[in-house]
Symmetry: C2
Subunit: 239 residues, 2 copies
Amino acid sequence: MKKTPATARTVRRGALTGQAEDYLKAIYEMEQGGEPAATNAVAALLGIAPASVSGMLQRLSRLGLVHVERYRGARLTHMGRRAALQLIRRHRIIESYLVTRLGFGWDEVDEEAERLEHGASTELVERMAAALGHPTEDPHGAPIPTSDGVVDERRLQSIADLAVGQTARVVRVSDRDSEFLRYLAAMGIRPNATVKVADRAPFDGPVTITVRGARHQLGVAAASRVYVEPVARTRRAAK
Amino acid sequence: MKKTPATARTVRRGALTGQAEDYLKAIYEMEQGGEPAATNAVAALLGIAPASVSGMLQRLSRLGLVHVERYRGARLTHMGRRAALQLIRRHRIIESYLVTRLGFGWDEVDEEAERLEHGASTELVERMAAALGHPTEDPHGAPIPTSDGVVDERRLQSIADLAVGQTARVVRVSDRDSEFLRYLAAMGIRPNATVKVADRAPFDGPVTITVRGARHQLGVAAASRVYVEPVARTRRAAK
DNA sequence: ATCGTATGTTAGTCCATACTAACTCTTAAG
DNA sequence: CTTAAGAGTTAGTATGGACTAACATACGAT
């Protein structure tokens, strides 16, 4: 017994190491724009060298998790997408649990979930989900894929896309930068908050918005990381 | 930036990988008998080849976590012991949390905690502990070291050490084998249960015990994995 | 005191993962 | 249409961690 080859002890569930899982998530995210995931983009997102990504793409390809077109980029296969969605589900459920059951701030949970998602069993994640009443969104407003890998990734507008005078409901905010999240929280920007664009500087300059009566300036970088759904004042069925 | 050498991404907190942490825990456990941890024993406990243990001992030694005496075995250094106790604290708090907050059975949590303990931040573990009111024992009766690494590892007797007629309170049970735990649970053996030795076969044969009025036979292997504190009927201060 | 078995260690491989350096494509600018 | 910059890949190296096979040590039994 115990003839398991080398890395077996570090492997969970589906025979994927934590690293490999991170790549799948990264590729999934990059792919959302429609284009295959670019090597350099994945490298930048994960903070590693492009050459390392090339290497990993070959391994993932061998495992049937991605299709790689040389010099073009990678796309997830069916299997790869399923794995990525499972991981994202884990991540978001864990984040939700940490916030609602253990009192973490929404700016603190991404990193923690990042580490836990690789070790947590499906059983644990499902128990957390059940304890929370099977939430459909995480604390940042991101949709939680179902255990069958179904997720509503509708294309969202960001504040940067709104016209002056428009009012919108915040649906979701980018969760990757805890400083940014604290900054948003300080202004009262969180899922379901209502924002109104008061002014916009030309040439993609900062946007002035009103949140709960207070005016704030948002740089483009920030504005484009807050996703909203315009509130239809003029009747034009908001679907 | 990101000149971090290779394994940095898999490393948590104190620059130790999950594997290395497992070794420390194993060595800590083996050492409890007073003797340095034997290579083969560690290998058996972790399910790996003895040669792999030799290799890891050298790495741990280089990191100042163990003292290795060639051909003799390993002992934890101060630092190593602290690391091991931190890990054990994590493990036991996580087990406790899973049982009391997420409805896991005591026979299901060892494996899960084994994986989570490497990814969970100190912050998370302390929040779990706080949520539980800072428990001092895990669900199997094992003491939880404090965050300063203090633990009451008093030498315990097992049922196998008791004489016929003696009554004892179950203090703790071995947690490594979930089948064994279910077997104990079925008999009503759990921390704080009272058992009485009704009979003992000679030559280390099975022990007959009474638990909550019912009689059961326990093999030596089982009996020696249930730790008890004799109940002093004859007055002779139970310390 | 010796010797054989247990136990332990070294040597040589392997794989995953990362890196740098050097090379190769792709593509946009002219 | 050419070409150079930027994107991507390969080659070569390192480290952690595991394996097997072969060698080394310790120690209890004779």
